[in-house]
C-alpha cells in the first residue's frame, strides 16, 4: 500500500537498507489514480477527436431542434397555400400574414402540387418522421434488450424459444414484415407504424444483447453478485446490462436512419400515417406523379432523408470506434 510507504522506514536499520513494504526514494511515486471514463465521457471524447462524427452529431441535433420548434422556425404554416408547383427560389406576392399589406415571400425549396411551401412541409414532416424513428428504435431497444437478456441469462429452453421467434422476425425483410403487421392490426396512424417497424427491428437488438449477456454472465462479478444473494432481475439489470450498453447504443444510432427509411417507405406505400399529415415519405409520394414537371417536390424531402441518414451513420460509426466494437458485432 503506497500510503504505508510514507514516513521513515521502520525496518531498515542502516542507510540503504529497506524492509518489507518499503521502497527506495528513487522508486517512490506519487499516488496516481487512473482516470475512469464513463460512457458519456467517451462519447464526448470521440466527438472531439472525430470531426466527421461531430458533424453528424451537429446535423442530427439541428434536425431535432428544427422539428421541435417547427412552428417557430418554419417560414409559413403547414396548411398555407401558394401558387402550385413553383420552382425553388421563386417568390409569391400577397397578403400572407393577414395584416392587410402585400408582401413578397421566397419559396427556397419551391411549392408542391397543392401549393404548400416545401421547406415548411419538410420542417413539419421532420416532427413525425423523427418522432416515429425514435419511438421505433426505443420500442425495438426495449423489447429486444429484454428478450435478449432473458435468452442469454437463462439459456436452455427459454433461450431456444425466444431465439426461434427472433429468427422468424429476422427471416422477413423489414418492409414486408411491416406491411404484414399493419395489415393485421388494421388502420393507419403513427403508433401502428412504430409497432410494425419496431417489431421488425427487435431481432437486431435481441441478438446483440444476448451475445453480450452470454459472455458477461461468465464473469466472476456475476458469481459474486449471486453469492451476495441478488435476485435474477437485479443481476440482469444492475450487473449485466450496464456492461452491455455500448454496443446497444451504437446499434441504436445505426438503426434510427433505417427506421426513418422504413417509415418513409411505409408512408410512400400508403400504409403509414394519415395521408394529409406531412411526413417525408408522404411528401416524396405526393410528388411522384409530377416528377417530370416538378422534380423538386420529391427530391427535396428525399435530400432531407439522405442528410439525416448520413448524419446518423457517421455519428454511429464514430461511436462504434469510441467503444471499440467490431464491425461484425453491430451492423
Amino acid at each position: 500500500m503506497s500510503d504505508k510507504n510514507a514516513g521513515t522506514p521502520e525496518f531498515a536499520r542502516h542507510a540503504g537498507e529497506f524492509g518489507p513494504g518499503e521502497v527506495p526514494e528513487e522508486y517512490r511515486t506519487e499516488e496516481t489514480v487512473e482516470e475512469y471514463t464513463t460512457t458519456r465521457e467517451r462519447i464526448v471524447r470521440v466527438l472531439k477527436r472525430d470531426k466527421l462524427a461531430l458533424l453528424g452529431a451537429l446535423v442530427v441535433v439541428g434536425f431535432i431542434l428544427t422539428a421541435a420548434f417547427a412552428p417557430y422556425v418554419a417560414p409559413h404554416g403547414p396548411e398555407q397555400q401558394f401558387g402550385f408547383m413553383q420552382e425553388p427560389m421563386s417568390e409569391s406576392t400577397g397578403d400572407f400574414d393577414g395584416d392587410g399589406q402585400r408582401e413578397t415571400v421566397t419559396h427556397y425549396l419551391g411549392t408542391d402540387s397543392f401549393g404548400y411551401d416545401i421547406l415548411t412541409r419538410i420542417m413539419y414532416g421532420a416532427q413525425i418522421s423523427l418522432l416515429v424513428a425514435f419511438a421505433t428504435v426505443a420500442f425495438a431497444f426495449t423489447v429486444g434488450t429484454a428478450l435478449g437478456t432473458l435468452a442469454g441469462f437463462y439459456g436452455g429452453k427459454i433461450d431456444s424459444v425466444i431465439m426461434r421467434g427472433i429468427d422468424f422476425i429476422w427471416a422477413f425483410p423489414t418492409i414486408i414484415l411491416g406491411v404484414g403487421i399493419i395489415a393485421v392490426m388494421g388502420g393507419l396512424g403513427w403508433l401502428n407504424v412504430v409497432i410494425a417497424i419496431g417489431i421488425a427491428f427487435v431481432d437486431d437488438f435481441a441478438r446483440i444483447v444476448r451475445g453480450e449477456v452470454l459472455s458477461i454472465r461468465q464473469e466472476e462479478y456475476i458469481t459474486a453478485a449471486q453469492a451476495v444473494g441478488m435476485s435474477d432481475v437485479r443481476v440482469m439489470f444492475r450487473e449485466i446490462l450496464p456492461n452491455a450498453v455500448s454496443p446497444i447504443i451504437v446499434q441504436a444510432t445505426l438503426m434510427i436512419p433505417l427506421a426513418i427509411l422504413g417509415e418513409a417507405a411505409l408512408s410512400f406505400l400508403g400504409l403509414g400515417v394519415k395521408p394529409t399529415t406531412p411526413t417525408w415519405g408522404l411528401l416524396i409520394s405526393d410528388g411522384r406523379q409530377f416528377i417530370s414537371q416538378a422534380w423538386w417536390i420529391s427530391v427535396m424531402p428525399g435530400l432531407a432523408i439522405m442528410t439525416v441518414v448520413l448524419a446518423f451513420n457517421t455519428l454511429g460509426d464514430g461511436l462504434r470506434d469510441a467503444f471499440d466494437i467490431s464491425e461484425s458485432e453491430v451492423n
Binding site: D3, E220, Y221, T223, A224, Q226, A227, V228, S231
Partner: protein
C-alpha cells in the same frame, strides 16, 4: 523468528478454541459432477462422461477456525468452495449450515443464508463489476439484505468497512480499475464483510497477488477473523500461505479429501504420501533442508475417469506391493509405473517403431520394438526388478507390440497387483483430531511388511 513463533502461538490458541467450538458448516458425502455428455449419441451410448470435480467430500468447519483446503490445480478445490455456497447445486450429499441443510436450495430460500456465508474470489479485478464504484459494490449486499435504513446510512457503513480493510474512506467513489491488485482484493473482502457473515469462503484469495501484498491480505484476513469471530474456509494451493493462517488443513486430491489435520501436525508429520510430496515441494531457502524431496511423476489422472481404489495410486511413491511381489517396494513402484503407463494408453507402439526405423534407416523387428518400449517406459533398469517380474514386463511389451493391449493389461495386472489399486482406502483416525485415507496408515493392511525405503530414490 519471533514473528513465526507468535503466529504459531496464535494458531495454537485458535486451535484450542476450535476444538471446543461447535461445527458451523459441514458437508457429508458431497459430490459435484459436471455433465459432459452433450449430444444425442452420448446419451444413446449411455457414456458417463461427467467430470467428477468433487466426489464424496465430508468436511466440517468449526466456529472461529480457519480450515484450509489444499491441493493441485484441477483437484476440485474451487468447485468445492462454490458448492459450499450453493453456487453449484450438489449432485449428491449434503451441505449443512448450523445443522440446516442448504445444498440445492432455490435462490429465494438461499437468500437468508447468503448473509451468513460469503465468498472472496481469486481474481480481485474480475470479481468486481467494472462499471460500479466501490461504494456501489460494497453497499449492494446491504441493499439486498436490508441492512441499513437509508442510502446515506449504507454509505457510512461502507466507508467504515473500507477503513476496516485498510482503504481510505475517500476511495468510495473510485472504480475497481483504479486500484492495485491488493486494494481490489481489500474491496472484495469489504463486500464480503458488508453483510456481517459468520463464514467466509476465500477461493485462492492471494494467488493473483504479488508476494509482498499476499502477506498483507493474509494478515488482514487473520485480523478480521479474530476481531469478528469469523470462520474461514481458505482454498489455496500454496502451502506457505496455509502455514501462515490456517488452523486446520484438508488435503484434496482428485475430488476427495485424503487427509485432514491441524496445521502444525500436518507440517511436522504428514500421514498421507500425497501430503508428503506436497510438503516437499515447498521452496526452502536453505538447500540442505531440502533432502527428502518427493517428486511426483506423471500427470494428474482425468477426473472424468478417476483411478480405481485409492485415486493417488497411479502416482503414489508409497504404493503398497501385492502379496506375491518378492522384490523391494521401490522396484514395485517402477513396475507399477510401467503398468500405469501401459494401461493409460501412453505407449504408442507405432510411434516407437517409426522412430526406430527412421534412426536405423531400415525395418525394426517386433522384438527390438518391445525391448525399446521396456527401455523407455519402465523407469530404471529391468535388471533391478526381480527376474520373473522383468520377464513378465518384457512379455507384456511383446503382447503390446502384437496388438494385444488387453493381454498386456492382464499380464501386468497379475504382476503388479496392489491393494491401493483394488480397494478404496477408508478414513483412519491417525491422531487427535486428524485422519487420513491411505492404506499405509490403515492397520487392516499390513503395510509394514513392505516398507517404503528411501522415498527420494523412487518415482
Amino acid at each position: 523468528m519471533s514473528r513465526e513463533a507468535a503466529a504459531d502461538a496464535a494458531t495454537d490458541a485458535s486451535q484450542e478454541a476450535a476444538v471446543a467450538n461447535e461445527v458451523i458448516l459441514e458437508t457429508e458425502g458431497l459430490k459435484k459432477h459436471f455433465d459432459q455428455s452433450d449430444g444425442f449419441f452420448d446419451r444413446l451410448l449411455n457414456a458417463d462422461k461427467s467430470v467428477k470435480a468433487v466426489d464424496g467430500v465430508s468436511l466440517e468447519l468449526r466456529a472461529g477456525e480457519t480450515l484450509a483446503v489444499v491441493g493441485e490445480s484441477g483437484c476440485g478445490k474451487s468447485t468445492l468452495g462454490r458448492t459450499l455456497l450453493n453456487l453449484h447445486e450438489p449432485t449428491e450429499g449434503t451441505v449443512r449450515f448450523r445443522g440446516e441443510e442448504i445444498g440445492g436450495l432455490s435462490d429465494r430460500e438461499m437468500r437468508p443464508y447468503r448473509s451468513e456465508i460469503q465468498m472472496v474470489f481469486q481474481d480481485p479485478l474480475a470479481s468486481l463489476n467494472p462499471r460500479q464504484t466501490v461504494g456501489d459494490i460494497v453497499t449492494a449486499p446491504m441493499e439486498v439484505h436490508g441492512i441499513g435504513d437509508s442510502d446515506a446510512e449504507r454509505t457510512r457503513r461502507a466507508k467504515e468497512l473500507l477503513e476496516r480493510v485498510g482503504l481510505k474512506p475517500s476511495y468510495i467513489d473510485r472504480y475497481p480499475g483504479q486500484f492495485s491488485g491488493g486494494q481490489q482484493q481489500r474491496v472484495g473482502i469489504a463486500r464480503a464483510l458488508a453483510v456481517e457473515p459468520d463464514v467466509i469462503v476465500a477461493d485462492e484469495p492471494v494467488s493473483a497477488l504479488d508476494v509482498s501484498v499476499q502477506a498483507q491480505i493474509l494478515n488482514l484476513l487473520k485480523d478480521l477473523q479474530s476481531e469478528l469471530g469469523l470462520s474461514l474456509v481458505l482454498i489455496a494451493h500454496d502451502l506457505s500461505v496455509i502455514r501462515q493462517v490456517a488452523s486446520r488443513v484438508a488435503v484434496m486430491y482428485l475430488g476427495k479429501i485424503v487427509e485432514t489435520a491441524p496445521v502444525r501436525e500436518l507440517f511436522e508429520e504428514p500421514n498421507h504420501p500425497y501430503t508428503r510430496s506436497l510438503l516437499s515441494a515447498v521452496p526452502r531457502i536453505d538447500p540442505s533442508a531440502r533432502t527428502d524431496r518427493v517428486v511426483l511423476r506423471g500427470t494428474v489422472p482425468s477426473p472424468i475417469d478417476p483411478p480405481s481404489g485409492c485415486r493417488f495410486h497411479t502416482r503414489c511413491p508409497a504404493v503398497i506391493p501385492g502379496e506375491d511381489w518378492d522384490g523391494s517396494q521401490a522396484a514395485f513402484r517402477r513396475a507399477f509405473t510401467f503398468r500405469t503407463r501401459v494401461e493409460g494408453g501412453d505407449v504408442d507402439v507405432d510411434a516407437v517403431r517409426r522412430q526406430m526405423e527412421n534412426a536405423n534407416g531400415g525395418s525394426a523387428g517386433d522384438e527390438a520394438v518391445s525391448e525399446r518400449i521396456v527401455e523407455t517406459t519402465l523407469p530404471g533398469e529391468p535388471r533391478s526388478l526381480p527376474d520373473d517380474a522383468a520377464e513378465r514386463v518384457r512379455e507384456a511389451a511383446r503382447l503390446l507390440v502384437d496388438g494385444d493391449a488387453a493381454g498386456a493389461d492382464r499380464t501386468l495386472g497379475e504382476l503388479c497387483s496392489s491393494p491401493c489399486a483394488a480397494d478404496e482406502p477408508a478414513r483412519v483416525d491417525t491422531g487427535d483430531d486428524r485422519w487420513a485415507a491411505c492404506h499405509r496408515v490403515d492397520p487392516e493392511y499390513d503395510a509394514s511388511a513392505k516398507p517404503m525405503e528411501g522415498t527420494g530414490s523412487s518415482g
